[in-house]
Structure formats: C-alpha cells, structure tokens
C-alpha cells in the first residue's frame, strides 16, 4: 500500500495534538488536585488508610530489595577495590551510591510497580463502575475524597521507603563486607562517615525521593481518574502508570542529579 503523504502528515499532527491535549489535561488535573490538598488534612483518617495500603504494604518488598541491592554492591565493589588494596572504602562506595541514587530511584520504581499500579486500578474501577459519578451526585468531591489522599500517601511514603531502602542496603553491605569477607568493622563505618555528607548526600537524596513521590503519585491518580471505563481501559491505564512513572522517575533523576551535583567539583 502506498502511503499518502497528506495522510502521514495528518496522523503525525493528530499524534502531537492528542499528546499535547493529554499533557494539558494532566496539568489542569494537577492544579485541581493541589487546590484540594489542604482540605484533606481535615480528614486525616483517609490519608492513614492510604498510607497503610501504599506505604506499609510496600515495606517488605522495599526492605528485602534494599538488603539484596546492598549485598550485591558489596560483592561487586569488593571485587574491584581489592585490586587497588583499598577494600576499606567499600562502605563509602555502597553508602554513596545508595543514598544518592539507588535508594530514591529504585524505591520509586518499586513503589510504582507495587502501590501506584494498584491505586490506578482501584480508581479506574471506581470510574468504570460509576462510583466517582455517584460521589459527585452526592456533592462529595471525588478529588478531595478519593484522589488527594492517595496522592498525599505517595508523597509521604516514598521518602520514608527510600530511607529504609538505603538503610537496609547499608546493612546488607555490612553483612557481606564485614561479617562474611572480613573488612575491618571500624574502617567500614568511619570511612563511610567521613565521606557521606548530611546536606549534600542525605538531604539531597531525600529531596529526590520527595520529587519522585510527587511524580509517581500524580501519574497514578491521573491515569486512574481518566481511565477509559472498561475492563480493557483499566488494564491499559495500569500499564501506563507503571511505564510512565518509571520513565518519569529516571528522567527526573537525571535532571535533579545534574542540578544537585554539577557544581560540586
């Protein structure tokens, strides 16, 4: 079949305008969510419930992943460091890579897969079964009642989970490095403490994870809220949440890393 150039151009134009349209929708939706955010604190029980489902239920996967990531970093790091006879620097390498990068990023990715997908599916199903419309009819704002608590729960959960991930990773590296390989315990911790800066490394890592929490939370509620109200639409929305969140986290990580660590050396 011979492609008609006019048709090609039209489909390109349609692709661009529909994406721009969705971006605009997302922007207006974000503004609307942020506007009702303050009112949610009056009904704190709602946030507690979402914190339980998003945060507490993600604890096990985050801590276990952190432990394994820290262990793998220790094994790989030791392998390289022993060539230069500076195995005591293992703690520094593991702690810096966890606190600066892996903690916030991997936690946000895990959170997108474990909690955000569930949030999208839940809201999408509410949309498909007209629960959101019913709330509207009862003069209950679904943004304030359903969307905002889930969004806030993501903002609170991700930084806490990221801190747990990093802490578990450091403990994992300690188990491998000090207990199994036999690096000196004192050198492991003291070199780590000398090199990890509270403001530059730890606080920047926490800031990163807060930004990731905002991004992942917004994407999950947006995709759920505007899901096509069919079984297929909900499944597509769930997939899109995970894909978009992962890409957004990695892109934001690049931007934030450049902003935070560029001027250091």
């Amino acid at each position: 079949m011979k492609a008609d150039p006019i048709e090609l151009l039209t489909s390109l134009g349609h692709a661009v305008t529909s994406r721009l349209d969705r971006l605009g929708l997302a922007a207006r939706f974000s503004v609307a969510v942020f506007r009702v955010l303050g009112a949610v604190f009056l009904r704190f029980g709602l946030i507690i419930r979402e914190l339980y489902f998003s945060g507490v239920r993600s604890l096990s996967i985050v801590i276990v992943s952190g432990l394994f990531v820290g262990m793998v970093l220790a094994v790989q790091g030791y392998e390289v460091l022993q060539r230069y006879g500076s195995t005591e620097a293992l703690g520094v390498i593991v702690a810096l890579s966890l606190v600066r990068e892996l903690g916030p990023v991997v936690t946000a990715l895990l959170f997108a897969g474990r909690a955000s997908s569930a949030v999208t599916a839940e809201i999408g199903l509410m949309r498909a079964t007209d629960q959101l419309a019913a709330m509207d009819m009862m003069a209950v704002d679904p943004l304030a009642r359903v969307i905002a608590p889930r969004f806030l729960a993501a903002i609170f959960s991700v930084p806490l989970l990221a801190a747990l991930f990093s802490a578990a990773g450091v403990c994992g590296a300690w188990i491998i490095g000090v207990k199994l390989i036999g690096i000196d315990d004192g050198a492991f911790w003291s070199q780590m403490q000398a090199s990890v800066d509270v403001r530059i490394d730890i606080i920047n890592g926490v800031l990163k994870s807060i930004v990731f929490g905002i991004a992942v939370g917004l994407i999950s509620v947006f995709e759920g809220y505007f899901a096509v109200p069919t079984a297929e639409g909900v499944s597509t929305a769930t997939t899109r949440t995970v894909v978009t969140s992962s890409l957004a986290v990695l892109l934001l990580d690049l931007v934030l890393t450049v902003m935070m660590f560029r001027g250091l050396n």
Partner: protein, 157 residues
C-alpha cells in the same frame, strides 16, 4: 481491619522510616560534623594549590576545624586564593602557617593550619601571611633528577 489497627501499622511505618533517616544521618553520614555553628572566613594565598578541591577539610593538628569555601585565581599576582571557613570555636594567631598536605600517599588534599605564638588572632576576612604550596610530584621528581645529575660520580654527599 479496623481503624486503630491501621493507625498502629502506619505509626510503626512512619517510626521505622524516621528511624532509617536517623540511621542514615547519624551512622552513615556524620551529623556531628554537620557544622551549623557560627564560623568566620579567612583567606590564604598559595603559589600552587595542586589538587585541592572546594569543601576539602581544613585541619589543625589533624583535627578538622573548617572547610575550604572557595578557590579562585588572583588575575594580577597569579596566586591561588583559597577562602577557608573556620569554626568560631577555634582561634588562630596572626602568624599561623597554612600548608597544603595530602592524606596518605594517594589521598585527598587538605589544608593544615599551624598556629604561631602571637596573641593576636585571625578574624573574619583576614589573610594568612605564611603559606606553603602543594607538593607537585613532577616538580619533586625533576628537582631530584636535577640534583642527581649535578653530583659527579665519585663525589660523596
């Protein structure tokens, strides 16, 4: 699951998260070294700073007393100007000597301060008068080779 069980689980989660943050701040990082106290800035000029970096430690007798705040080049004298942020808890006399040292054989470079005996102290904006530049390995080697070549074979040192 009723309301209070949610509260308990979330409370434990938040406590655990804050504990992890504290663990990172105190055990992994070094909050004690996170200097929030008052400080003053002094200036030291060096012919050559070698590999000194901004935020490198300033030590006196091996104890960290401050950090290098900024490094720049004086366009007229071609000297490197290092501005040192020193904790107000420490005072250094006006004839203090600032030296660029290296921790270990391959370690990072830092500034060592050796206080003199004058009972007048450096204050905000003052300049350290006596400085000693970094050892540059190439210069040391060429000096060594030059001295070696100058020796005649039979001569004893």
């Amino acid at each position: 699951m009723n309301r209070s069980k949610f509260d308990l689980a979330v409370g434990a989660f938040v406590a655990l998260g804050i504990f992890a943050l504290l663990f990172l701040a105190l055990k992994v990082g070094n909050l004690a070294g996170f200097d929030t106290g008052t400080a003053y800035v002094i200036e030291a000029r060096f012919d050559n700073i070698g590999g000194l970096k901004v935020r490198a430690p300033v030590k006196s007798a091996g104890v960290v007393v401050g950090r290098v705040e900024s490094i720049s080049l004086d366009g007229e004298t071609y000297e490197a100007v290092a501005r040192l942020r020193i904790s107000s808890a420490f005072r250094f006399s006006k004839d203090t000597i600032a030296t660029i040292l290296t921790s270990g054989l391959l370690g990072e470079q830092y500034i060592g301060l050796e206080s003199g005996g004058i009972p007048e102290y450096l204050a905000q904006g003052d300049r350290v008068m006596k400085t000693q530049s970094a050892m540059v390995l190439e210069k040391l080697i060429s000096q060594f080779l030059f001295n070696k070549a100058a020796e005649t074979p039979g001569q004893t040192k």
